[in-house]
């Protein structure tokens, strides 16, 4: 069977996590490949969380926050927005494909949208195949 990607999701408490809960209460199905970690705001998400997830074997990382302008903390999501381009640049330098990390805005009312994003990302990661980060670490260890 095809490779089943593992996705780690970091969701802000006020919009995106509530949105994901809404997908649940509205019984909107999506692939079980994502496992979610709740933080208060997308601004809390350290790039370290993302790289650590990849290094520990995640095939993709999804970061979700409130839509710009709707942040519960007024501007937290802009901080997340600022970190992402640099993070992608760094991951690229390390040979990690850009599609593996994703930043999306999901409001508390967008359960449907959350489900669609997860489904779509899972599909892409399936096509992309397993992440090389963890594999490469193991391969390098073998030569020694």
């Amino acid at each position: 069977m095809s490779h089943e990607p593992q996705i780690v999701g970091f969701l802000c408490n006020w919009c995106s996590y509530a949105g994901a809960d809404l997908a649940g209460t509205s019984r909107i199905p999506y692939p079980p490949n994502i496992r979610v970690i709740r933080v208060m705001c997308s601004a809390r998400i350290e790039p370290e969380f993302v790289v650590e997830a990849l290094a520990r074997g995640a095939d993709g990382v999804l970061v979700c926050g409130c839509h710009p302008g709707d942040c519960h903390y007024s501007e937290g999501n802009y901080k997340a927005m600022r970190r992402f381009p640099l993070l992608k640049q760094v991951l690229e330098a390390y040979g990690v494909e850009n599609e593996r990390v994703r930043l999306e805005w999901v409001s508390a009312s967008e359960g449907q949208r959350f489900a669609e994003i997860v489904a779509e990302m899972t599909e892409r990661l399936r096509a992309l195949g397993p992440s090389r980060v963890k594999a490469a670490l193991q391969a390098d260890m073998l030569e020694r």
Binding site: P32, A53, G76, A115
Partner: protein, 573 residues
């Protein structure tokens, strides 16, 4: 850290969870995790027996940490924290794994869902092992309130608070109290006199032993946080100008509005044509009791133009909310003062939504006023009438109802100028650290559910500084703000939740990267020590500063890097 003793409690939520997730398998997997003393499943973990089961297990196994795998923490985190507290555990030594909303309700494949539920539970176990017991803080609440603005809103709030028995400092920039309302004669729709409304209040404020009024005064600086602000006010009230500082607990911002500058609409000729006047100039005529043209003749033709500066692409998109009724009031007053005067009323839409306003409109239309509708963004044009005409001016307008371009005569034209944010609103917003919308109005913490609070604890807004509104709404807001503050003062001290950011000084290098990041200005820089520190009472725990601190010196309590990374490890191992 001593080996933790963790209890894991897996809920089947009737069959809501167990119909997809093999809770027994989750339990077995949990049991082998490091630190886990016991793992149990139950039908309804949130039920009383369920909660008692947790308490019993805590006592039986001497558990010091608890994980509940059930519904969303947004649903029952409170409940289970309560259960932990009841069992003598610090509520923050508890974690939830969301295996319902984010697992059993969205996945059909039993093995996959069970695998995910296991991973989510493992993550919660790894995390809870690193959780720390947290206690909230309390801070003093200074009972003094600073009211900015001596208009109807400021006066009302000040009185409300003073009557409540607490000191108020009312700071007014101008040389008198009353604000814009003091420039008005009668008020719509019941035509009671603004003067009466005000003077009674002003004298009470003046006399009240709890209220200090400072005219000719401005706020220069505000530091600290809710309950513990320090204000610096510059005043020219009384003797020579001086600056004074005092402590206070809350602030009511009631700085009001300013009227739209009619000269910006050139084709109305205000400032050039002598008999084109703004609503406020007209109010002056009304108060002097003489409605006449510049050369002292009663007008034979009067015209009133609505939405001057409001509801237009060019100027302000919004409605100023009070002008329509005021215009009707003018029409009636002109009619009663100069019975044979022809009054025409040029409007875009007639907004008469307030209590008693629709009746007022009806009465107005009976008063033989000629209502002419002009299109949005198509302003009428006013010019001098050619010599020999029996009127001063001619107003040219595309009348929407008839669809014709018509000319109407006028000896006197009243421009219903709208409201706009004051020129000093940005300065005020910065001083008290609140935000403004695109039009410059101050932003409330929630437009519907929390309309007088702001995103900064202890700062409240009332009246037309937040948006155009009429007197009743303004007064209601002022009293609401006062009520909120009285309730907080009554509670005595401020409770501060245990989850907030803190700077570990022995790690802070004073780089000041975090200083600008806090939306609540909860981070202060101590230039003596060259260290930053977080004002816990002002912190809302978003964690932006913790994520940005390059030294790892800022810790987001209950969301530390160690805790989140432990979750990551748990999800993926």
């Amino acid at each position: 850290m001593a080996e933790p003793k963790i209890g894991v409690f897996i809920c089947s939520c009737g069959t809501n969870i167990s119909h997809v997730v093999d809770t027994e398998a989750v339990r077995e997997q949990a049991l082998v995790l490091p630190g886990v003393e016991t793992a149990r499943t139950y039908r309804y973990m949130c039920s009383n027996p369920g909660q008692e089961m947790i308490g019993a297990a805590v006592r039986e196994h001497g558990l010091d940490r608890v994980v509940v795998a059930a519904c969303s923490p947004r649903m029952h985190e409170r409940t289970f924290r309560g259960a932990c507290r009841a069992a003598g555990l610090n509520p923050y030594l508890f974690e939830m794994a969301n295996i319902r909303e984010q697992c059993s309700w969205v996945h059909a494949d039993r093995p996959a869902a069970t695998l995910k539920a296991t991973a989510l539970t493992r993550a919660a176990v790894f995390r809870v092992a690193r959780n720390e017991p947290l206690d909230g803080l309390t801070a003093e609440m200074c009972p003094t309130t600073l009211v900015l603005g001596g208009g109807i809103a400021g006066l009302t709030a000040a009185l409300e608070l003073a009557e409540g028995g607490y000191p108020v400092v009312l700071v007014e920039r101008s040389d008198r109290l009353g604000g814009n309302l003091a420039r008005v004669d009668l008020t719509a729709p019941y035509l009671d006199s603004a003067r009466d409304l005000l003077t009674e209040r002003i004298t009470r404020v003046r006399r009240h032993h709890n209220i200090t009024v400072m005219l000719h005064s401005q706020l220069k600086a505000l530091s600290g946080f809710v309950g513990n602000f320090t204000a610096t006010v510059q005043t020219a009230d009384g003797e020579a100008p001086r600056t004074i500082a005092f402590r206070l607990g809350n602030v009511v911002v009631a700085t009001g509005y300013r009227e739209f500058d009619a000269s910006r609409i050139t084709h109305y000729g205000w400032g050039k044509l002598p008999n084109v006047v703004t609503s406020f100039e007209f109010e002056r005529m009304l108060r002097s009791g003489r409605i006449e043209t510049k050369d002292g003749r009663p007008p034979r033709y009067a015209a009133i133009i609505h939405c001057v500066g409001s509801r237009s692409r060019e100027f302000h998109g919004y409605c100023s909310r009070v002008c329509c009724m005021t215009a009707l009031k003018y029409a009636q007053e002109i009619k009663s003062a100069v019975p044979d005067c022809y009054v025409s009323d040029l409007y875009i839409d007639m907004h008469a939504f307030g209590k008693g306003c629709e009746d007022f409109y009806k009465r107005g239309s009976e008063a033989k006023t000629l209502f002419l509708m002009y299109g949005k963004n198509e302003h009428p044009v006013i010019r001098r009438a050619p010599p020999g005409d029996d009127c001063e001016m001619l107003i040219e307008v595309d009348e929407q109802l008839s669809g014709e371009r018509i000319e109407i005569p006028a000896d006197l034209v009243v421009l219903m100028v709208g409201m706009e944010a004051r020129e000093d609103s940005a300065e005020v917003a910065h001083l008290v650290n609140i935000s403004q919308d695109k039009d410059g109005w101050f932003i409330e913490s929630h437009p519907k559910l929390d309309p007088v609070a702001t995103t900064t604890e202890g700062i409240y807004i009332a009246g037309t500084c937040a948006a155009p509104k009429d007197i009743p709404d303004t007064v209601a807001q002022a009293r609401a703000a006062a009520g909120r503050i009285l309730a907080r003062i009554a509670r005595g001290r401020i409770e501060i939740d245990g989850v907030f950011a803190e700077v570990h000084e022995e790690r802070c290098s004073g780089c000041r990267i975090c200083n600008e990041l806090c939306p609540y200005s909860a981070i202060e820089f101590d230039s003596e020590k060259r260290r930053s520190h977080v004002i816990a009472a002002a912190c809302k725990a978003c964690g932006a500063c913790a994520a940005a601190c390059p030294s790892g010196a800022v810790k987001a309590r209950h969301f530390t890097s160690e805790q989140v990374l432990a979750q990551v490890e748990g999800l993926l191992s």
